[in-house]
């Protein structure tokens, strides 16, 4: 065999080995894992993780992707004793592979310019808070460097608008505007908040060794 073929085989072999080791074998280990039925204290059964509904939540995840939220917000809680994720209240337990089985792809993130969102639905259940925060993060969180997403809202100054059925109409705080102003989220804005409302990692879940 000549030198050139030998190098080609060598470089292919090394990269295929790591593809197996880092991607295909873990996938083989985890692919049978799916949602699980969980007996709740009140006797009812919950399925976790649950599928996103295709009406608002799944489109909301697309908005999350499209606006690149993942570049500042992670969705993973590190274990106790490694960082302070649990002490900060970002989750009651560490994140485990089962939390992500339905996510394609998972938005686990690598940056925390903003806080982790793995359990944002439980940490901040107020929809109104989310709408104001999204419209201009400085309204709810002075000092924030998050971009404002005013393009996800229709704004009305003067008298209250008539929001379409199912769309909330939120007055902006008087300290923020001179004249009475209302915001109504667009379809995408409403979907994004619906998606954030699904972000929680509840129940005790086993780790994978």
């Amino acid at each position: 065999m000549n030198r050139v073929s030998l190098i080609a085989l060598g470089v292919l072999a090394t990269v295929i080995a790591s593809l197996f080791g880092l991607v295909l074998i873990p996938n083989f280990q985890l692919e049978s894992m799916g949602p699980r039925s969980i007996q709740q204290p009140d006797g009812s059964t919950a399925v976790y993780p649950a599928e996103l509904d295709s009406y608002l939540e799944a489109p909301g995840r697309e908005v999350y992707r499209d606006l690149g939220c993942v570049y500042c917000h992670s969705q993973q809680v590190r274990p106790e004793g490694f960082g302070a994720d649990i002490e900060r209240g970002w989750g009651a337990r560490r994140s485990v592979p089962r939390d992500y089985v339905l996510q394609s792809p998972p938005f686990m993130g690598t940056m925390r310019t903003g806080p982790d969102l793995a359990n944002i639905a439980d940490r901040q259940p107020s929809q109104e808070w989310h709408y104001l925060h999204l419209y201009d993060p400085r309204i709810t969180s002075p000092g924030s460097v998050m971009p404002s997403f005013k393009f996800l809202f229709d704004t009305t100054v003067g008298e209250a608008p008539r929001a379409p059925l199912g769309f909330p109409m939120i007055p902006l705080p008087e300290t923020y505007v001179d004249e009475p102003t209302w915001i109504v989220p667009t379809e995408r804005g409403r979907a994004l908040i619906a998606y954030l409302g699904t972000l929680r990692q509840p129940f005790e879940m086993e780790e994978v060794q």
Partner: protein, 498 residues
């Protein structure tokens, strides 16, 4: 040295090289010229991104310029536009020179360059209008990234053909690296795209596929090209052979074996099987082998000749890059340790590290290579040594400022975040001065890029002098006087700029 009219044997070599250079002219100039365009665009996107992080009101009302879109647009233009296209340019020229054959398939390579530009443009546009994937380093929609990877089959076939028809029997280590890179990149890009966008991988395995790829874009695509360039240009400019051929082969195979196992260190503390993260940490530690091998080899080649960096732009950029390779690799291995990762992960520390790799190491070497190659393609000199100086110092100072500011700031960010008594908003506020320092550093780097773009523009328009006197930082006459005065070695100059 390259031209000495008093030596007829050398003169034949010079003619042969000129024929090879001429065969590569249009193709390499197209890839190089395009890369500089993407460098400028990428710098603009970088500045917008950076400013938004400390001044969130900046350009805030345009959805297509929201932070979460300009940031990936920056990354993809600099990686697939600037770094990859300049890399392919250098790769083609080096392969032709080292195989001692004329560059084949010129029309095809020009078409491939145009196609590549079109794909990067479409992909970047798709990110800005909201069709990016939000998968780091793979933000182009799959219908852009798969055609991008597939065009590399042409490059594989081309390098195989060139190696088979080579007229120089000996395979120099740069050819090993370049050949490896042409095989690795399309394999990684297509495999990762398929795994992430199809049901072939599920759940967190998609995340490991993501970081297997993203880590390897630097490790098995840009790093081999950067090292191939350093291995070629340092000995070439100095006029002395590489210190050890055997060390360079050890460096190559240990890189091939270990680099691609390090990717999961981006997921330490994450929801993965425990063994998988350990594998990533072990792979990162093993990286000390190729890194030390390369560092020793380059250092021993340079030893005693560092003063020549005063004269040669190529050498100055490339030695800066080669030293950064050692620093970034050692930092990367240490960052994979759990106790370091606990603080540095999720912070600007990682961003600083990434720029040390792609910019301080790879891009500086790419600049140095282009300073050497372009005059030989165009047969003209660079128009201004002052602009080269501005380019070097603006980029070098900007890069150091960038790295120091964000590494330090990121470390503080990590320490504060790991202390649950510190309110999160205090962390955000504490970062603002460091984020400003990044915008200033980025402005400096952009000034350097504009100087470089002016030089490249004038080079392509053939505004420089004929290749007689090389554009050095110090002219030969100055240098001779300086050497006489202080017994410094005379600069390594031939009839070409080095």
């Amino acid at each position: 040295m390259e031209t000495d009219p008093r030596d007829p044997g050398r003169a034949a070599d010079v003619r042969e090289r000129a024929v090879i250079d001429r065969s590569a002219r249009e193709v390499v100039l197209l890839w190089y010229g395009s890369s500089v365009f993407w460098l400028l665009l990428g710098s603009m996107l970088a500045l917008v991104t950076s400013i938004k992080l400390h001044t969130p009101g900046f350009l805030a009302d345009w959805e297509w310029l929201t932070f979460g879109r300009v940031r990936p647009a920056h990354l993809n233009t600099v990686i697939y536009g600037w770094a990859s296209m300049s890399g392919v340019g250098t790769l083609l020229w080096l392969m032709a020179r080292l195989c001692k054959i004329r560059l084949p398939w010129r029309e095809g390579l020009i078409l491939a360059g145009i196609y590549w530009n079109a794909m990067v443009a479409i992909g970047t546009f798709q990110i800005l209008v909201g069709n990016g994937t939000s998968i780091e380093w793979l933000e182009f929609p799959w219908w852009v990234s798969i055609p991008l990877g597939v065009v590399f089959l042409v490059l594989i076939a081309l390098t195989v053909k060139m190696l088979r028809t080579r007229r120089e029997k000996h395979l120099y280590v740069s050819q090993w690296y370049l050949f490896g890179a042409t095989i690795w990149f399309p394999f990684l890009y297509v495999a990762a795209t398929v795994l992430i966008h199809s049901p072939a991988a599920t759940g967190v395995a998609k995340a490991t596929a993501n970081w297997w790829f993203a880590h390897n874009v630097l490790g098995l695509w840009l790093t081999p090209i950067g090292l191939a360039s350093a291995y070629y240009f340092i000995p070439k400019v100095l006029g002395r052979p590489i210190h050890s051929y055997y060390l360079s082969i050890i460096g190559f195979w240990s890189l091939a074996l270990f680099y691609n196992w390090a990717g999961t260190h981006h997921l330490i503390g994450g929801p993965l099987p425990a063994w998988l993260v350990t594998v990533g940490t072990v792979g990162s530690m093993m990286m000390f082998v190729p890194v030390i091998t390369v560092a020793v080899n380059h250092h021993l080649t340079m030893a005693g000749h560092f003063s020549k960096m005063r004269f040669s732009p190529t050498l100055r950029f490339i030695v800066f890059g080669a030293m950064s390779y050692t620093v970034v690799s050692v930092q990367g291995s240490l960052t994979a340790l759990r106790m370091v990762n606990e603080v540095g992960h999720f912070t600007h520390y990682t961003i600083a590290h990434a720029h040390l790799g792609v910019y301080s190491f790879y891009s500086m070497i790419a600049f140095g290579s282009m300073y050497y190659v372009m005059p030989r393609l165009v047969e003209r000199e660079w128009v201004s040594s002052r602009l080269i100086k501005i380019h070097f110092w603006a980029c070098a100072v900007g890069m150091i400022m960038y790295w120091v500011g964000l590494s330090f700031g990121g470390w503080i960010q990590g320490l504060m975040m790991n202390n649950p008594d510190v309110p999160f908003m205090d962390v955000v506020q504490r970062m603002i001065p460091y984020l400003w320092s990044r915008s200033i550093a980025g402005t400096l780097m952009t000034i350097g890029h504009v100087s470089f773009a002016i030089l490249v523009w004038k080079m392509i328009r053939r505004e420089g002098a004929w290749l007689v006197e090389p554009t050095l930082f110090v002219t030969r006459k100055d240098a001779r006087e300086a050497a006489n005065a202080s017994h410094l070695p005379a600069p390594a100059t031939g009839g070409h700029a080095s």
